[in-house]
Amino acid sequence: MADDVPSPPPEAPADAGRRRLLARAAIGGCACVGAATLLGPAGVALGPLFQGDDGPKDGLPVALGPVSAFKVGAPPVRVVLRADERDAWSTRKNAPIGSALVQRTAENVGRNVGFTVLSGVCPHLGCAVDYRDDLSRFHCPCHGSSFETSGARVETTEGGKPNPSPRDLDPLDYDVVNDRLVVTWVRYATATAERKKVGA
């Protein structure tokens, strides 16, 4: 005990109840002050759960260039989708927002006719799927998901392993506008058997 503090008189028994009451008040006080302090930071931390998605808006049409660039019978190509993007506080023109796998299937083209257009995002865990001509299939380099050129999931992949992808590749809507192929970009949740939009 420090030598400049006089020792207190012993507590009177009558004070015990008062002490308990004050203790409760102190606990309550701590809880209130603590909660008030944490309220703001908790909002920032948990906000994304209640906020809509801020990403490139789903349903964004992206022009992929003249239809004549895609020939019937040619193998599928992987095209980078570029669009104006909003990322939190910043906007960016012509940012690469994703990729699509495109194959022309018929001479006659139009709204959702004549092409196979698939999202290049692997339904397994989101790596980038590419076309492999040695397999004549779409293939994901990360865990080896494999798909027919139609996008259909194959049961066993190269090497006889089961396909890790829970579903087929995700088709994207497209249209032909002024002789240009325009794709509607949508992001789908990965790792689910059912196809649902991200954030939906």
């Binding site: 990322d87 380099p141 990360c142 392993k161 890790p164 992001r187």
Partner: protein, 579 residues
């Protein structure tokens, strides 16, 4: 020297001040008590592992703060600031290297520390709390690894994080965790700042606090001697144990520095969400990556949640599974599962690396990634990084490849001019000498449309000086330009149109077939040519209908910005063009 307390001797006044300070703060005494803690059974190198871990934490903190003085946690700034740190900041790459390798060393030493504790029975009564806090520390450590990688914003860090968080999101309830970590659904600005906050504030805070608890608990019970060790007299921590800890820490630090200098961390090309990249996690997560290779579909849950969950539960419960007395040797009930776990993790890790080593496609992809990194470096050396964090020449080159320009210009299948050195004086000189060479008009529809320039010596230099001056490149003297202009009027105006740049010279506005050379190799001139090379004022004037069909198409769909990027790249000499 004694561990603490005012030094003996010296002036009485100094002594009095120190004594007074000690009476008011008790600092010396406190330190002395800490340092003189008895080490039961005497100091051991085995006990130094914990000290090394504290040392590693301090290293991470110090190098982390040093990096934070440069690193910019924004999508625009992250990669560029790290590139700057790595290449320009004095000793920056050393600091980053130590930080990176120390995180790996952390994992290694933690495993050694745990194994040792298990063998010595240091998890048993009364040290259970120390052990459990230790396990939680290990988990926090893995959190550092996950959050740190993304901060690099290079291909490697970006894609690894996408896959790692993808795994997380696939677990039940993991979606919420993932949303919270990313601040949404995307791997952009908010994800970066959140990872930064976690890596730099939250985790160090949690880790520091837990470390303090771990140390306090450990100190309360002292080190646990090896079961069956001959009883030996105890020694104070200072200097016996201290020295051993310092020696081991020195060895570790030397290893970190050696790794930095010999291997280095590297920074891959900036993250490109549209690229196809073969993601692989850091080595200490490889086992999980490999495990997920085997466990697909409905079994995936086993790999993402069940097995890792069981492992964590097992580790936390170890002190209670083990029923032996504190002084006894290791218990089979804990040692066998623990050893199996280690062997499993090691095997999976080795298999994963071996798989990749034998996978030609993966090797090729890695080589491609290295090449992209080298290209980015080259483009930065030539054209820098702009304020929005982009590498203009790299983006120009990528557009050149993406937009199909490279398809013709990089190869020789479709006859087309090579572009290497585009817009430079040397290339212009070479062109004038051999306009129909392979690198220029040869075999293209323009083959034979232009004759080689015959002028030699000064006359030729003068002509080039004049042509260069058209696009604003003042390379020759006024007299030389004037002389070149005169020669141009004399020999070239049958086909070419060019403005009078020289005082007193007539403005030749002939209706010429060849390209209009006003502004030759200037920004606007080049833009117009790329946009529509077949225009009458460009190369179209000298082509008939059939020839025009075989010539370069117009690129109307390029946005102005894309066009500018390609032209910026072209006028930098088209670095990275194959020919």
């Amino acid at each position: 020297m004694t561990a603490a307390g005012p030094r003996r001797g010296g002036g009485g006044a100094a002594r009095r001040v120190l004594d007074g300070f000690e009476a008011r703060t008790g600092l010396f005494g406190g330190v002395k008590t800490l340092l003189s803690t008895e080490v039961a059974g005497g100091a051991r190198f085995a006990y130094a592992l914990g000290g090394v871990l504290v040392f590693l934490f301090v290293i991470e903190a110090i190098t982390g703060v040093a990096m934070a003085a440069v690193y910019t946690p924004s999508v625009a700034g992250a990669w560029g600031s790290l590139h700057y740190l790595e290449h320009q900041v004095v000793l920056g790459s050393l600091v980053r290297g130590i930080h990176y390798f120390a995180s790996s060393a952390f994992i290694v030493v933690v495993v050694l520390h745990m194994t040792q504790a298990l063998l010595y029975g240091a998890h048993r009564r009364p040290r259970e709390a120390t052990w459990i806090v230790g396990v939680v520390l290990l988990l926090a450590l893995l959190g550092f690894g996950i959050t740190g990688r993304f901060l690099r914003m290079d291909q490697h860090g970006y894609w690894d994080t996408r896959v790692a968080t993808g795994v997380m999101g696939s677990a039940p309830g993991g979606d919420i965790l993932k949303t919270l970590m990313l601040g949404g659904q995307r791997y952009g600005s908010e994800a970066l700042t959140r990872f930064y906050a976690l890596h730099v504030f939250v985790l160090p805070g949690v880790f520091g606090l837990l470390t303090a608890l771990h140390l306090a608990f450990a100190r309360r019970h002292g080190p646990k001697p090896r079961p069956g060790a001959k009883p030996a007299p105890s020694q104070p921590w200072w200097p016996y144990q201290t020295l051993r800890t310092v020696v081991l820490s020195g060895v570790v630090l030397a290893t970190l520095i050696a790794l930095t200098l010999l291997v280095g961390v590297g920074l891959e090309a900036p993250a490109d969400p549209a690229s196809a990249y073969e993601a692989r996690p850091d080595w200490y997560f490889r086992f999980l990556f490999q495990l997920l290779h085997y466990l697909d579909g409905p079994l995936a849950l086993l790999g993402t949640v069940v097995l890792p969950g069981l492992a964590v539960v097992f580790l936390i419960a170890t002190p209670f599974i083990d029923r032996r007395a504190p002084g006894e040797g290791p218990s089979k009930r804990t040692l066998i599962p623990y050893a199996l776990m280690l062997v499993g993790v090691a095997t999976l890790t080795i298999v994963s690396f071996a798989d990749d080593a034998g996978n030609e496609r993966f090797q090729k992809a890695m080589a491609e990634a290295d090449e992209a990194t080298a290209t980015a470096e080259q483009m930065i050396a030539l054209g820098g990084i702009d304020a929005s964090g982009r590498i203009p020449l790299f983006e120009g080159l990528e557009l050149y490849r993406d937009k199909g320009c490279a398809g013709c210009h990089d190869g020789t299948k479709t006859p087309s001019p090579g572009l290497a050195g585009y817009g430079t004086r040397q290339r212009l000189e070479a062109f004038l000498a051999h306009p129909n060479g392979e690198a220029f008009f040869g075999k293209t529809p323009l083959d034979g449309k232009m004759d080689a320039v015959e002028a030699e010596g000064d006359a030729r230099i003068a002509l080039v000086d004049y042509l260069r001056s058209l696009g604003g490149h003042a390379e020759g003297s006024a007299a030389s330009v004037e002389r070149g202009a005169a020669a141009f009027v004399e020999d070239c105006t049958d086909c070419h149109n060019a403005p009078a740049l020289v005082a007193g010279m007539k403005d030749y506005a002939v209706d010429a077939a060849g390209p209009d050379l006003a502004g030759l190799y200037g920004f606007e001139w080049t833009r117009a040519v790329v946009r529509n090379a077949g225009h009458v004022t460009a190369y179209g004037g000298s082509l008939d209908k059939d020839e025009a069909k075989k010539a370069m198409p117009s690129y109307e769909e390029l946005s102005d910005e894309e066009l500018s990027r390609i032209v910026t790249w072209l006028l930098a000499g088209a670095p990275g063009a194959k020919r």
